[in-house]
Symmetry: C2
Subunit: 95 residues, 2 copies
């Protein structure tokens, strides 16, 4: 697998090259998924946006970005928690 | 001014520390703006998300993120253009 798939249709964008996440998403759409969600935190947020834009161009008319949301998530051990920014980008196959 | 303001209510997030963009946005809301848009490209995208999350926490109930959109923009000289990812985060004062 090119990139970790956390839950059905969810791809966690991290340290790997953008192409890995693009391939993971395109594979999921090719295998019949209607929806793929890219999630990223911190500095990987820019990479998730890059991946979404590449997927959109690659899939042409077939896939659109249906939602983008941002949030803060608590990370770290208890007592040493800190907030990191996060993004969720939802890509959906058009019928 | 802490950060460049391109058009009314638009803050371009770039190389400066997150706090500069937070201050610029909070200043605009304090001066009466109903809406502030953070724009960023490339690696500054993560910083724009950080700034938006800090502004939201700082302004408490008074400001919400009303829209997040991503796109690709052409940059560079004619003949040497390349696509970079971009984000627009809209923060709005609640009535």
């Amino acid at each position: 697998m090119a990139a970790p798939v956390a839950a059905e249709g969810v791809i966690l964008v991290g340290q790997k090259p953008v192409a890995n996440y693009v391939l993971a998403a395109v594979t999921q759409f090719t295998l019949g998924s209607k929806k793929v969600i890219l999630k990223a935190r911190g500095r990987a947020i820019s990479k998730a946006v890059d991946a979404a834009e590449v997927i959109k161009r690659f899939m042409g008319e077939k896939v659109a970005i249906s939602n983008v949301s941002i949030s803060s998530e608590k990370v770290g051990e208890p007592g040493k928690e800190r907030l990191v920014s996060a993004i969720e980008i939802t890509l959906e196959r058009k019928e």
